[in-house]
Symmetry: C2
Subunit: 593 residues, 2 copies
Amino acid sequence: MRTNYCGAINTHYLDEIITLYGWVHRRRDHGGVIFIDLRDREGLVQVVCDPDNIETFQLAEKVRNEYVLKVTGKVRRRPEGTVNTALYSGEIEVLVVNMEILNASLTPPFLMDDDHISEFVRLEHRYLDLRRPVMQSNLRLRHKVTMAVRVFLDQQGFFDIETPILTKSTPEGARDYLVPSRVNANHFFALPQSPQLFKQLLMVSGFDRYYQIARCFRDEDLRADRQPEFTQIDIETSFLSEAEIMSLMEEMIRSLFKTVSNVELPDPFPRLTYAEAMHKYGSDKPDLRVTLELTELTDIMKEVPFKVFREAAEKSNGRVAALLVPNGGRLTRKEIDDYTQFVGIYGAKGLAYIKINKLGDGQTGLQSPILKFLPEDIIQIILERTGAKDGDLIFFGADKAKIVNEALGALRIKIGHQHGHAESGWRPAWVIDFPMFEWDEEDNRWQALHHPFTSPADGHEDLLQNKPGEALSKAYDMVLNGSEIGGGSVRIHRNEVQSKVFQALGISEEDAKEKFSFLLEALQYGAPPHGGIAFGLDRIVTLMTGSESIRDVIAFPKTQRAQCLLTHAPDTVDEKQLKELNIRLRKTEQPKN
Amino acid sequence: MRTNYCGAINTHYLDEIITLYGWVHRRRDHGGVIFIDLRDREGLVQVVCDPDNIETFQLAEKVRNEYVLKVTGKVRRRPEGTVNTALYSGEIEVLVVNMEILNASLTPPFLMDDDHISEFVRLEHRYLDLRRPVMQSNLRLRHKVTMAVRVFLDQQGFFDIETPILTKSTPEGARDYLVPSRVNANHFFALPQSPQLFKQLLMVSGFDRYYQIARCFRDEDLRADRQPEFTQIDIETSFLSEAEIMSLMEEMIRSLFKTVSNVELPDPFPRLTYAEAMHKYGSDKPDLRVTLELTELTDIMKEVPFKVFREAAEKSNGRVAALLVPNGGRLTRKEIDDYTQFVGIYGAKGLAYIKINKLGDGQTGLQSPILKFLPEDIIQIILERTGAKDGDLIFFGADKAKIVNEALGALRIKIGHQHGHAESGWRPAWVIDFPMFEWDEEDNRWQALHHPFTSPADGHEDLLQNKPGEALSKAYDMVLNGSEIGGGSVRIHRNEVQSKVFQALGISEEDAKEKFSFLLEALQYGAPPHGGIAFGLDRIVTLMTGSESIRDVIAFPKTQRAQCLLTHAPDTVDEKQLKELNIRLRKTEQPKN
């Protein structure tokens, strides 16, 4: 019955009789004629109700915002001077021949072209919020992304294989969502944090190339922009090296950007080692749009009088680094104070700086409260290494390396975007050569930097026992504009290597068997060399749509308190249901909700 | 590094040097030469290790079943008389130049070409079971099916939109799986039984065409071939009539069968009303391959002396029907006894029959214990209506219609397939004109035959209150070879109609608001006319692969006790986890597990 979408009509259809379905976006009475902007998912079209057509005119008088109409009419050119160039259909309008009101609407709590609605109201009335063109466009792009991924992977011989949602704890380290089993009293399923173990088993089964756009679950204390459930493009292959997997995966992302957004990403993506990334950007997910870089100073600070720098440089896990801000001399006292407060978030105890007021003709003209603590030759080296010029400013970080990296890494991005030291566009990269382990100061033991199934780099197996901190892995992360959009690794496919890694992690054979018995067993029955990656779909779509939050690219998201304001999930349940599940509520001193 | 898949080499590659990765399917020593059948997901190829190549020969001697090999070798024609026509690669073999053992394997608990392994062992070692060619082929076909569906729907303008897994109870009637919320103590998420409400909301949002290959969950007492989680091809559209939706959906299924299995399904699919299906086949999911049909006899049995028939015919919900079995006169006493027992499963108290021994020349020659209770004219009508001929047999059902339909319906299929009254191939059909409600004898109230959001047929709105039993709906089921593979309806889009349906179902306004407030609210803000369907993916793939169980088309299924024998989910959890969730176990008198 529908001949066209509202938003898809142009002068090509002049004089045709068309039938449209849509929502009343706006109604205007003007000179005795009623104009309706009719909206569907493709956009708006102007519909004109002439008083000569008494029946439809009387109907049109009843029509209010968000009424649902069926309209049959004739496409005609808009009168001179009323063309709307912002609209695809802006040169034409539809003169109504026949109209039907398919449904009425209460006055909606907000207008569909209002972009300043509180998120609370939006989420409460999500079905209306999703009518807004920006949300329509976000979810359409998300569809296009998943379809492009599926087409690419299908063509490359990947099979889409579903893995269970009701399953057992996976070893991702976050908290599991649990599901009590009724049939098996006192036993619980866990919702998967990722299909990691299953996809490895599928490689053991010989499927060779697997993918799944998989729902994953983490019961975390929700930080900004996390969701209890999120979606992963989950991929695993057999018999490919790191380089081959990375090459295939960046081809996928290139194809995706090209298909969906007509963007050409570089070929190949630049590759950075983890060490390089930390040294130059203080981050393993550097925003390469920002042109600023950190400068290493630890080596020259070991004997300076300035205690803050010296002590940081002397520590085995300490670091002293500089961030040169070209033209940073113009920063005000207030701005520098704000940045000092900002790095405090990351644990930095201060933010030393040197302003270069005038340089050249032998004069340094430096300005800084810390100058007096730094020998002249050290200052010269700082100026040389950073390449500082007249008008620049140098910030310093000196502390545990972790704090310096986080603080200066974040400051680099903030200043870069605020003060024009950032390019536009898309800057993807691979970060490689990750360490196998990182030291957990709280628990006083090594932790897997990725997960315990990550293969050590060739020749690094022997380091696992003696120098675990030096062992590198076959892990790789894909970063894009400062976000980690994907991460993966070649996995361990030999049982004896897996045992060594468990040992290094202080996981007893018993514990490993208890937790991963089926994987360890599978490794003994002809497991092929294999590896893979998982991309964060929500994050990719958030970046591609330029959204502020992943909540804007998820149809029905939850709040930071893990609640759905639309359906009011989670909700209380009947005692009968709890009884069937053989559980009861504990007494809470104060109900939290 | 790999140049070819094992199973994809033929004489086209003669004399080429190729590199393969695969598993040792079999190793044979023959005349001083070692032959290895190397297997990957594409199939087998014969690899030959000549003793002249000492290094590889010594390796080949170590090789056992399911070892993982990398093999480089030269493709050559097999010697005369050793060609294996059953194999795609059967005309060639690969003479090994270089070989590497990538991983060893313990002796597997079964051989990969054994088709008689107990399901328990298969599920325990699922990663090995999935290596078997039949399982590889099943999951590959499943991938192709989902891809064909996605391509079709994408081309038709459907958007793939994800709906939540952590959500609120849906009104499908089965038991929900619950997930305790840690952040919101004493509150629970429910896993969705279907995305029904969300897809309706997406229509209210104006997405116009939605689909999702969606995981759904039902905590049922598991009957044969159900799974706690299953997969649905979930579809919803706006502004289409029943006929338009059905036409689009059968086009999808036709395209699917054509793309994946090169099968041409009829265009259009036959349409049967619910009443017709029950009368002719005793089932709303008739197996149309079976050529037998039921014959209505209720009308002529109201005054016969035979009490069993008369009483059934007199009941308002009773039925007397016949099933003619051509050449059924040859059925033995034993066979008839077995069938009598079989219909007993469905509640039938007996299975009356008449054998037609000789017909024509005025003589009936009928043989039956019930002849004496049936007047001659009635017998004549029976013979005429069933069209019985010499050598045929007529079975009778007389009871509540529900029992007669189930018993004779099942008998029809059993006899049809056992005695050659069934065609081969694919017989899809639509069943339409379902009643809105069916009477629930236990609860003494009307129940929705589909779900409470199903629209009444045009003109049947007024029946909702006065004659709910006569109201038909805009529901439609797609059936294929005796299985319901899809079901859907045009939904109610007007609030006042929804209220009437809730009233008819005895759902108070308060209850409705409590359960579906957001849907009812959404219907007031310009809900478009909309409808959709959901297909059971597992069942479709089971049919297409000719599998006996849906467990054979799911990578990691659960047993009938809802357990995963591979991972041992569900499992016990730490007290700490329960405490975080603010729940505790009830004391069980006897641990069930």
